[in-house]
Symmetry: D2
Amino acid sequence: MNPAALTNRGRMVIACPDQPGIISAVSTFFSGQGANIVHSDQHSTDYRQGVFFMRVEFDLPDLIGRGEALKQAFAPIAEQFQMSWRLTYAEIPKRMAIFVSKEDHCLLELLWQWRAGDLGGDIAMIISNHPDLKPHADQLGIPFHHVKLTKENRAEAEAQHLELLKDKVDLIILARYMQIVSPEFIAHYPNRIINIHHSFLPAFVGAKPYAQAYQRGVKLIGATAHYVTEELDAGPIIEQGVERVDHRSGVEDLKRIGRHVERLVLARAVAWHLEDRILVHGGKTVVFS
Amino acid sequence: MNPAALTNRGRMVIACPDQPGIISAVSTFFSGQGANIVHSDQHSTDYRQGVFFMRVEFDLPDLIGRGEALKQAFAPIAEQFQMSWRLTYAEIPKRMAIFVSKEDHCLLELLWQWRAGDLGGDIAMIISNHPDLKPHADQLGIPFHHVKLTKENRAEAEAQHLELLKDKVDLIILARYMQIVSPEFIAHYPNRIINIHHSFLPAFVGAKPYAQAYQRGVKLIGATAHYVTEELDAGPIIEQGVERVDHRSGVEDLKRIGRHVERLVLARAVAWHLEDRILVHGGKTVVFS
Amino acid sequence: MNPAALTNRGRMVIACPDQPGIISAVSTFFSGQGANIVHSDQHSTDYRQGVFFMRVEFDLPDLIGRGEALKQAFAPIAEQFQMSWRLTYAEIPKRMAIFVSKEDHCLLELLWQWRAGDLGGDIAMIISNHPDLKPHADQLGIPFHHVKLTKENRAEAEAQHLELLKDKVDLIILARYMQIVSPEFIAHYPNRIINIHHSFLPAFVGAKPYAQAYQRGVKLIGATAHYVTEELDAGPIIEQGVERVDHRSGVEDLKRIGRHVERLVLARAVAWHLEDRILVHGGKTVVFS
Amino acid sequence: MNPAALTNRGRMVIACPDQPGIISAVSTFFSGQGANIVHSDQHSTDYRQGVFFMRVEFDLPDLIGRGEALKQAFAPIAEQFQMSWRLTYAEIPKRMAIFVSKEDHCLLELLWQWRAGDLGGDIAMIISNHPDLKPHADQLGIPFHHVKLTKENRAEAEAQHLELLKDKVDLIILARYMQIVSPEFIAHYPNRIINIHHSFLPAFVGAKPYAQAYQRGVKLIGATAHYVTEELDAGPIIEQGVERVDHRSGVEDLKRIGRHVERLVLARAVAWHLEDRILVHGGKTVVFS
């Protein structure tokens, strides 16, 4: 995550029907372009008739200057193998909007890891339905937008959100935002909205998962970072974590213990997204190492 | 678990409405009887108006000979505090019946830990709807009963089970038995039937949990040991464990990884039951340390 | 950790030679005083001839007003059983001094958990050999003392530390302070200085444990919170945590991953100390549940 | 691990100085041979001037028949990139010798996983300095060799071991063998002897690690699988695991808890070796995913 290391570093992510020759074609392409493959990871759901996924991290002098030409040169290979693919430049930071409500632990973790250089990207803005967390934004000079939200004004509020986000944001993080997001909103950012749900999904979907967990008497509580889709808490899972609890743990204890799981799980998921490590296929994620 | 250490070792497990003076009354009782409290653990759901739980492990010379007198001496205290309670003798091993089907990993783990002395109790019999695992029973001289089970003969089969178990068994373990047990059967052994479910409940209730987990794309798989109640996979949870998986893990991988979680989780739950560490209250377990 | 719940809440911690009747004597004492035992935990190294440890958490109206009388009333029992013991009042917060150097993650975690109410106590001051982290102290109105430290002035610097701490601090936390503390200094705060070492001790004692871990090629890295004693990194261990790493992890990755383990492990150890859960015996800790 | 899936499955493992074009050259080679790359993993210690490691799993019709020709065709590429490399056939099982003493848990785990098909390979023989575990070998028809071992006859005993192993064994597993193996013996099987040490190395090297761990008061115990080298417990680490313990855990508890960690850690390490996933470089392992 050393900024110098990001210069001229490119990342290509590919998905296509599996067939012989893909790795050879891709790696020979990069070799022929004078690029140095720094890291490469692949996965196939079934190498005989499945889907093939590949992520290549490479260094190429003057990458951004040569980017368009590189894409054009790759196009025939992509066509030949029916690839869906994208090329990103590591030195162009992804821009994040963090949506919060009143709970601060996930926000503070993201801000801390970002300042420590453990999390790449730029934080373009923080949006909240409450003004409480504004001081944290102010202190770091991050724009904070308080957009009031009621049962009645949801559509207008989301319109305001979209206006604020427009052309300024590549990734939206729901850091304990605790509000339902409409299908229309989601459609603007497919697989680009990460939510942290405070249970090990699919257990305890919906409201008050810690109260549900307490009621059920589980011996492990967890948290799940996932992409937001139309169906509540049913989007592709990116990362999960758990912690042990026992009969002595009341609901407040579960919340306290769970907070630590939530913030670390969310931060890992965000870091992976920023590094283009995640592909979504069939409602599930491939997370490249 | 040193057999010698179990001689004259008693265990009393208590539940009652919480109020001041319980610990004092109980510990003074044991002290007055000349018993040495070796270990004691308590829990209160709410010390002002909740339920109080206590487990006392003690040594008393000639415990079994004096057992009835001890119980009679304790009765007034129990009555005063409205206790439900039980006294057990560690040197009288609990008798287990292990129900299996075709999968052997949970059975083998229990047999291995039992032979190693990590699991107390006696294995009275193994019951199965298939003959496949009989050799493991034969090898250790454990009675193996093959009771055929079809959709049509369930009631007769269960009657046969009850006949085999009658007066011979204190605990039933469903070690990947994979069959539904009827409410009538369960009523004979309330909170004395332990099942291992191959998911972190309440996620993936019912059949084929690994296939469900694969389909959902979870990043952790788990196993849950619980007491069997009428509602499928909804009984009080005793213990849970998880293991990480990723997008490379197919259903067969999940099964293979999960087997190791299942067998260790089940063995821990059984050990705790045999040591009288578990109380059930409100659909949840208290597991004394 | 609800402040209201701490009012009139007392904690007694006891160590004495094990013998029959201790629990009875202690619980009967509290019962006779009109105190309500809220939680009680015991441990014996060997109930026949070992050391017995006990922690009782209780509620008693007007606790602080009656504290001295309570201590006097308990004295005969303590004498009878040769107890070393202490009584603390939960509503009187312990005062902490946090020693830091340049790394901020452990400090920020403590500050964050403290503000969230997950960590009790008062932060009396932050002391550092570098001015870098002063802004974090300023922001919360916590006194920050910059005491320069060189090889030559160690004795004077420590004298200055002791002067700053005198009568103001109950617990010292070395939150990645990275400096050796002299035996003379330690003698002022026996078992009241908590250090976080960035390895799973006793592996990788001393400097640069992550570099050592990388060199050795371990597959797990860890952190250890321990009381500081004269011998470097050899004090009683309070808590440890680990995280998986692999061959891809360079030294910088180990540091990044390790930071999350360090800060959570340290915060747990500090919370337990503040709640009087820790007893030291024979170079090891008893951590009451 | 489906046997049918292993037919015509090859694995090539490569190490060489890193430079551009390696992946391209290797994948193009396989593509040109008509092989289908099923899985591929790479690692570079430093892509500018480090060492590059690669493991390719591929399918090729009539692999064994064409093996020699394949190797000859690859030789020029290997020479060009200064590769050290090996090609193995998945359908030819590696032959294991398991060395044991009196403790059976690691042996039983290996036997169980092997019978369950979770562990590939053939078990050629079991060698022990005690006759105790012979029945487990007999039961599965595995040759068991009891070779007495005293301080005086170590050299002769090892000569006998080598005679038994000669041309029959590809991997030696010390499954709690508890004996020092001489440098001369090790030299016959470099990076082909796996030991399980019952601590998280480098903590608690040498004898009685659980007693050492108890003495030190650690809160986590562990186990480490490593290749055996001349220096005791200092060989390349393959895998590690830990489990929580607390002040209540005596030495016997640590042993009991640790046994479960040991056997799972050892079995994972053995499985990885059998699948050609491990490369040793600079005293450390690369474990390909």
